[in-house]
């Protein structure tokens, strides 16, 4: 499906109109209108202390993402390369993936205490499982004929990896990395919603406690923009990788 710029334009316009309509229905106690929200966001960004919160979130997210993506890739590839390990362990990973991680939040806090390490750990357990599962799936789905071709050509290990394994698994692995990236962000932000004194998630929870609707809306908009922006960039890379594979 070829996406056109007009599609994005229509989408943004439609969302804005819906938002305005929701405001007309629900009133200023529940929702602030689009324009006012953007203005409030502009003020927030210039407010003292905002960038410290943003940096705290960014740092926690970066650490969590490195742990989740690298850990997921290493362990996913290790499990994926052995058919026995794959068969035994991937159902366990799938079950762990489907558990609502939020129930583990108290455990993480008890282990790591309040502060940045709990946020990082919480973000990382969100991102680890999808990355590992997609890596396992990518290896399982390599077409056997490719491996047989490699054997027929007597490729040494290194060129087998370079010319066959990496190109065959890359598309699915990139998809896993994108999903892992998003879920890590989700985990880090949820981590900040509770028991944190810094970060964008903390600002959101503070606004929620004060029933400060303009701030809730402005921060929600900001997080929405960050998440969709990052996702579109990775999605563009993913499309290129997938197209290259064909």
């Amino acid at each position: 499906m070829k996406q056109r710029w007009s599609d994005y334009l229509i989408l943004v316009l439609a969302l804005t109109v819906l938002w305005q309509l929701a405001y007309q229905l629900a009133g200023p106690d529940a929702i602030t209108p689009p324009l006012q929200t953007v203005e409030r966001l502009g003020q927030l960004v210039r407010q003292e202390g905002f960038w410290e919160h943003a940096r705290a979130t960014g740092l926690a997210f970066a650490c969590a993402a490195v742990l989740a993506l690298v850990g997921g890739l290493v362990i996913g590839t290790a499990i994926g390369s052995s058919s026995a390990a794959r068969e035994i362990l991937s159902p366990i990973l799938e079950t762990l993936y489907s558990i609502p991680k939020i129930v583990l939040y108290p455990v993480i806090l008890l282990i790591f205490g309040l502060g940045i390490s709990a946020k990082i750990a919480f973000g990382a357990i969100h991102g680890f499982f999808p990355v590992a599962l997609f890596a396992i799936g990518a290896i399982r789905n390599i077409r056997p004929v490719l491996l047989r071709t490699g054997r027929v050509l007597r490729l040494p290990r290194l060129s087998l990896a370079r010319h066959i394994l990496v190109p065959a698994t890359l598309p699915e692995i990139v998809t896993g990395l994108r999903i892992g990236f998003s879920t890590t962000l989700l985990g880090t932000l949820i981590g900040e919603l509770f028991a944190s004194s810094q970060g964008l998630g903390f600002m959101l929870v503070r606004a929620m406690d004060n029933h400060n609707v303009p701030d809730i809306m402005a921060l929600t908009l900001l997080l929405f923009l960050i998440a969709t922006g990052a996702n579109s960039v990775i999605l563009a890379i993913e499309h290129r990788v997938h197209a290259h594979g064909r």
Binding site: M1, Q3, R4, D7, Y8, I10, L11, A14, A26, D29, A30, I31, S83, A84, E87, I88, L89, P91, I92, E94, T95, S98, I99, P100, I102, V103, L104, Y105, P106, V107, L109, L110, I111, R178, I179, F181, S182, L185, L186, L189, I190, L193, F194, L204, A207, M208, H211, V213, I216, M217, L219, T220, L223, F224, A227, T228, A230, N231, S232, L235
Partner: protein, 251 residues
């Protein structure tokens, strides 16, 4: 590998036993984690004796059930509508692709402001989380229906609703089931997370209460309970799904 399930059981048992040993010997302090056997005892005590247990459990399961219905049915209908309108689909495509990258829980405060702190907010939270998975699965499901089925419907002059019910629904069942499985998982996560963040009742709220009161027995009992419930639902759905796929692709 001849008995993967046995191996899994063995690995799980080894992990649990190791935790038991670490907790009993004091390497992991009781303030951090209680021994797995104590968790099970706490859970049993809770189910048998705690006066809040059944009320909170019912609250949560009602919310989850309503959220599943409210994500599966509208998700299927919206999927049909979006599939029938290619232009709309192209406009909505970026939303469908990046929906799960948005931390949906950031909308929960907004839902509370709009609906109040009640079951409706929680149900909407769970349904919002699940509905897009159902829409996407419906779209994939219809995309994969062989075109000849549509031609048959046209030859038989079936109208839209008959085509949807008697051709699209049965032919799309395997993929729809995958969507339903996701909708169930997401509804559970959405409701429990919402209860954990802010609610007046429910297992998620009980979990956050017990955490705030340093009541580790109740907390770990509840965590074990949620683990078991999710694992049972999940493996049940997985088995059902495998059976549907087998039946569909045998012929």
């Amino acid at each position: 590998m001849r008995h993967p399930a046995l191996w899994r059981l063995g690995i799980t048992a080894a992990v649990v036993l190791a935790l038991e040993g670490l907790c009993r010997s004091g390497v992991i302090s009781a303030f951090t984690m209680i021994a797995p056997s104590q968790m099970v005892v706490a859970l049993a005590g809770m189910i048998l004796h705690a006066d809040w247990f059944w009320a909170d459990a019912r609250y949560t399961f009602e919310n989850v059930g309503a959220a599943i219905v409210l994500s599966a049915v509208p998700g299927f209908v919206l999927g049909l509508v979006i599939h029938a309108l290619p232009r709309l689909r192209r406009v909505l495509n970026p939303v469908l692709l990046s929906y799960y990258s948005v931390p949906t829980f950031v909308f929960y405060p907004l839902l509370i402001v709009i609906f109040g702190i009640n079951q409706l907010s929680l149900i909407v939270m769970g349904a919002m989380f699940g509905v897009v998975a159902m829409i996407s699965s419906t779209l994939t499901a219809i995309d994969r229906i062989p075109t000849v089925y549509g031609k048959v419907a046209r030859v038989l002059r079936m109208d839209r609703s008959a085509t949807a019910l008697r051709i699209v629904l049965p032919a799309a069942t395997p993929h729809l089931f995958t969507g339903l499985k996701l909708a169930v998982a997401y509804s559970v996560i959405g409701v429990i997370a919402g209860e954990f963040i802010l609610a007046t009742a429910g297992l998620g709220r009980r979990l956050s209460l017990s955490f705030n009161e340093f009541d580790n027995a109740t907390m770990y009992g509840l965590i074990v309970l949620i683990f078991i419930v999710v694992a049972v639902i999940n493996s049940g759905l997985q088995r059902w799904e495998a059976r549907i796929y087998r039946r569909w692709y045998r012929s």
